[in-house]
Structure formats: structure tokens, C-alpha cells
Symmetry: C2
Subunit: 317 residues, 2 copies
DNA sequence: CAAAGTTATGCAAAATTCGCATTGCTCCGT
DNA sequence: ACGGAGCAATGCGAATTTTGCATAACTTTG
């Protein structure tokens, strides 16, 4: 029996529609259907009567709802109480990361059960690339997690930092779609055609440099006309969905929207760039939990051919 | 988060030993270790302090124990209440099965999430082969689940029954082990050597016939001296573990004991026989839930080349 | 009456969990 | 003091579970 099934059930109890409830729970309708059935198998009684339209709860189901709500509440309260009880005894590890990585990468990464037991508490500052660098340099955080590329500006490599690769991603060019599912904009257009462009802020010069690399590989110059600028990838994505232009975004950020037909990748592989996800820390920093995390990451990074740079010769600006 | 993790934790809290707790929970120590770590990840706090020997609970762990006990109790109470609430509305399906199948096969089989939602209530009568046959014939149960073999006596095939294959097993010959792990008895011995034999009861003549088939394939007659008789496979197994003799037992019943070194298979493949697990019902019986189950089993049995016999011409004795 | 919406199922792929083998360590018995 | 036993964690491949896609069978809606 899983907590997720209880939460699934509360959703179907509220919506009385499997498809709607599934969407709310961010899983497909068939998977949702199976989960509810699995819950009913565990309970040993039907909770949902499917012979009506929409479905309704059985008498067992009606009994189940309030008790289920109470149990879910109690579970999370117990978890919070335990965290608070442990709070004084475990060290906080602090991170800075790009928004995208904070939203889409970090939660799954930090929750991996093979992670060392510590850290179990973490704090996250999100910002653009320069903010992450500044936080790390000035000691405001223990680790910074950013994108990186061997051909990118060696902003962090030149400083007293060391890094490990902990994942990979890909910058892809996407466009919103019309009612027929075709992209609103494309790059395979006559030379000089104006293409509305959703750009990263000037402070995200790092990504700007990478994007320039991609553009320079295209068969001819593009007339990209900046119509919006932000350092929030999520905001840029929503603008693209709204049909405002094209944007380079990390795949991790758009793969769901692409799968759901809200966005479409354009320009193919040539208009994309594989990038690394790297974790940085200042050379010399030592904390027990930080060391445990670093040691674990060093072992797993050996499989990902991570660079481990420790060159203190050049101080950062 | 899974209920199993809560139960795991209560076990480690009681024993303070991962290996012992794992054994009690019927999983391996590494799997147990990972589960506890997964629970701690979900909680977001260490519950076990591993720096002491034996381990002890952290302050969060001490807080967790009573609340965890209460939640597990509430979960099972909720399940029971729902079953009772549903009881009046769902039809009971009754089964008769051999002890072995009732213990080792039926719980996992009936709990398969792909099963139709009904039946969610079942009643089980366990007995030897003849008792199962009698229950089915006289209408005391809806279904009988037994072993079968094409070369076995066609006890049920001759009656107004139909059947489907729902699984397979193997009769294997096992012996207890000595302190060195070697079998106490073997069949590859000089002719005439007396071998203590743990036999099925006379009423389990069906299995006796199958076992005779196996024996007839051995390269020479064996001097099997019956020292114990029972229709309870589990009892025969315990007698073998205790070193009282050899016994043919279904693999499903002994595979764990063999893996744990309490028993050892002897005589190899030649001294074993693959058998089918079949479900029987009387031809013509109809109940909504029974039909749903049968329809589902018919579909899945198509992959297992199940025989479906429906010959009412010959009444059973 | 056709189209849309609904839930369930088959199937293959993806993800998770498992057990085995082993490591690195601590404890215990001699 | 030392060797063996016991302990918990980890790497790895296998086994199992869960998932999403495609689709079926059905009901509802326009």
C-alpha cells in the first residue's frame, strides 16, 4: 500500500472522473486506473462504483474518504514533527541553482534513495547564472548547481572551485504551436525572415554564449528579433506556449510540454546543444555532511567522466 | 511512501539489528537497509543512529515509533471497516485448495492487481485432494484449485467439470541437511539401502500416483521406508528439515528452505516432475463474480495452453 | 447517429526493487 | 592481540513493478 494511492483516491473522490483526477496527479489515465484498482485490492472492497456516469463512491468509499484524509494529514504531520525533532541535530546544506535545475532536476536528484542519509535538510537559492556564481564565491552557499559546457566561458573553472558532473541535459529550440499542431515559427525560412525571439537576460550571458555557439553552426544567419527577455526559463517557456516566439530551453524543462503538444522542437539536432549539469564547491571547504555528499558524488561521477578541477591559481574576479 | 516501510521500521525499532529485522520481514538485509534509508529520505530525518552497536533510535526515531504504530493500526482498522461496509454488497467466492496452494500460491495469485475487482472477498477451505474434489462435487465451494498432470489419474476430468491452468509447479525430492550442508539422505546409493520416507496420506492418492510415475523413471528400485504420513505438505517439510527422511514436495513450498540451506534437492531433474496448477469449477455454474473471474482467467490461460474440459457425459462417482 | 468522452486492458519500455557478492568496519572469543 | 564472526552499506545485474501508448468497449453528448 502506498501513500500515493491514498492521495489518488482523494482526487477521484473529489472529481469523480478518472481522466481529470489522473491529470491532476500528473500520471496517465491508465496508470491512475490501475492505482485505484490496486488500492481497492489492498482494501478488499470496491471504493468506486463505475456503473454510473460519472462514477460515484460506494458505501465503503464514503467511509474511506474522511478516514483517508485524516490519515494523510497525520502522515505529513508526523513527517514534519520528525524533521523538526531532527532539525537541531542535522546540518543544513545550502545550494544555489538555476531556476530550471531547482524546479526540474534538484528535487528528483536529492531524493534519490542511494544518496547518503545526510544531507536530509537543504536550502535552495535560485537565481540566474551570475547570482549562483556570486553566492558560491562569497560563501553564501555550500554548492552551486549549474549547466556547463566545455566550450562555454570558463567562468568557474578559473576560480578556486572544484566540480563534478551530476547529470546532462540539452538546450533545444522550441516554438509554440498553431491549432493544427504545426510550429508557429521555424528557422528553416528564407533568409532575412524576422523571427520573434525570447531571450535570456543579459546577466545570463553564460547561456547566451552557448546559444551563440549553436547559432554559429546554422547554415546562415538568423534574423532573431528579441521580443522578450527574462532569466526565468519557466517564464520564457510560457511565453513560447503563448505563441510569442522561439526560445532555447533546457530539455528537462520542456519535454513534458513537447510531449503534450504545447510546444514543438524546431531546427532539429543542429539547433540543439548537449550540456552538462555540474555541481561546484569552493576548494578547501569542509563539512562532514558536505564531505559525505561529495564523496558519494565523486564515486558516481566516475561513470559520467566528470571533470574534477581544482586549480586555485587564478582567483575569480 | 509505503506501508511496508512503516512495518519495516517497527521491526528494526524492536530488534535494533538490520539482519534480524530483515529476516523477520522476509527480505534480504541489503533490501531492508535500502527500505529504511528510503523511509528516512521520505521523512527527511535520520530515524536510526548507526554509529552505535547495536543501532539505536534517534530522537526523531523515538518520536516516530508510537506514531507509526498508531498509523499502522489505523490503516488496518480502516481496511477492515471498509471490508465490513462492503461485505453486504459483494458476493463471497468460495474455494477449496490443497494446503500448499492455499499457503503459497493463492494469496499472491488472488492479490494480483490485474484480477477483476470482484472477487474481493473469498473463503478458503483447505484439505487434501479428495476433500477438494468432494467440496467441488457437492457444491460446497465455487472453485477448487489443485495440482494436475496429464499422466495423472483423470479424477476430475471424468466429471462435469471444466478447468483452466493458472500456474505451474514442480514436485521435487528433498532431504534435510547435516552440519556440513550435505544432504542427510540421497537416492544415488547402493541398491537395497533403506531410505526413510515421508509420505502423503493414503487419501492423497493422487499425488501418490504422480510420485509413483517419478519413481518408475529412476534407474533402479528404491528402498523407501515410510516413517511418517500426513496430508499436510508443510508438516512433511518440517519433518524433512528435522532430518527424519526424504519427501517429494512442490517447489513452491520448499524453494525458500532450499535457498536458506535448510533443505537440499536430491536426485536432480530426473527425480522431479513438472505439474500444473489448475482451477476447476462445475460446468453450468453461474454467478456474476464467478463469471468475471472465469472470463479473466480464460483470457490469461490462453497463454498457458490450458485445457478447458467440458464433458458432462460421465458423472463423478 | 456520429463524435467525444470515459474506464479498462494488452503490451513493451522504463523505472524500481530485489538478492547476491562484497566491502569496510566493529565486536567477540580465544 | 588477533582471527573469525557479525554488522550495515554499496555495486551490479536480474527480477519485478509501474508506466504510457494504443486501443477496445462502452456511454454520453450534441
Amino acid at each position: 500500500m502506498e501513500l500515493a494511492w491514498f492521495e489518488d483516491f482523494l482526487e477521484i473522490a473529489a472529481t469523480r472522473n478518472f481522466s481529470t483526477a489522473a491529470a491532476s496527479r500528473n500520471i496517465s489515465q491508465p496508470a491512475f486506473s490501475r492505482r485505484i484498482k490496486a488500492l481497492e485490492q489492498w482494501v478488499g472492497a470496491e471504493l468506486i462504483d463505475r456503473s454510473t456516469y460519472p462514477v460515484h463512491l460506494t458505501s465503503a468509499g464514503n467511509l474511506f474518504v474522511p478516514r483517508c484524509q485524516e490519515m494523510v494529514r497525520d502522515l505529513y504531520r508526523l513527517r514534519t514533527d520528525c524533521r523538526n525533532a531532527a532539525g537541531a541535530s542535522s546540518r543544513l546544506l545550502t545550494f544555489a541553482a538555476l531556476h530550471t535545475l531547482a524546479i526540474y532536476f534538484f528535487p528528483k536528484w536529492i531524493s534519490h534513495p542511494e544518496m547518503p542519509s545526510a544531507p536530509v535538510r537543504s536550502s535552495m537559492h535560485t537565481g540566474d547564472f551570475l547570482e549562483c556564481v556570486e553566492h558560491l564565491s562569497s560563501g553564501k552557499c555550500d554548492f552551486a548547481i549549474t549547466y556547463d559546457h566545455p566550450d562555454g566561458p570558463p567562468v568557474l573553472e578559473g576560480g578556486p572551485f572544484e566540480s563534478l558532473q551530476i547529470g546532462r541535459d540539452r538546450l533545444v529550440l522550441v516554438s509554440g504551436v498553431g491549432s493544427t499542431g504545426a510550429p508557429l515559427f521555424d528557422v528553416d525560412v528564407p533568409e532575412g525572415t524576422r523571427i520573434p525571439y525570447l531571450a535570456y537576460s543579459w546577466s545570463d550571458g553564460y547561456l547566451g554564449k552557448l546559444i551563440s555557439l549553436i547559432q554559429s553552426r546554422w547554415r546562415r544567419p538568423l534574423n532573431l528579433s528579441i521580443v522578450y527577455q527574462s532569466s526565468l526559463a519557466e517564464g520564457l517557456k510560457q511565453m513560447a506556449i503563448a505563441g510569442q516566439g522561439v526560445v532555447w530551453l533546457p530539455q528537462i524543462c520542456v519535454q513534458k510540454s513537447v510531449a503534450q503538444g504545447e510546444l514543438v522542437q524546431i531546427g532539429g539536432h543542429q539547433m540543439s546543444l548537449e550540456i552538462e549539469i555540474r555541481i561546484f564547491r569552493r576548494v578547501g571547504t569542509r563539512s562532514r555532511d558536505g564531505e559525505a555528499l561529495w564523496r558519494y558524488l565523486s564515486r558516481t561521477a566516475e561513470q559520467a567522466s566528470g571533470r574534477n578541477t581544482a586549480d586555485p591559481a587564478l582567483a575569480m574576479r
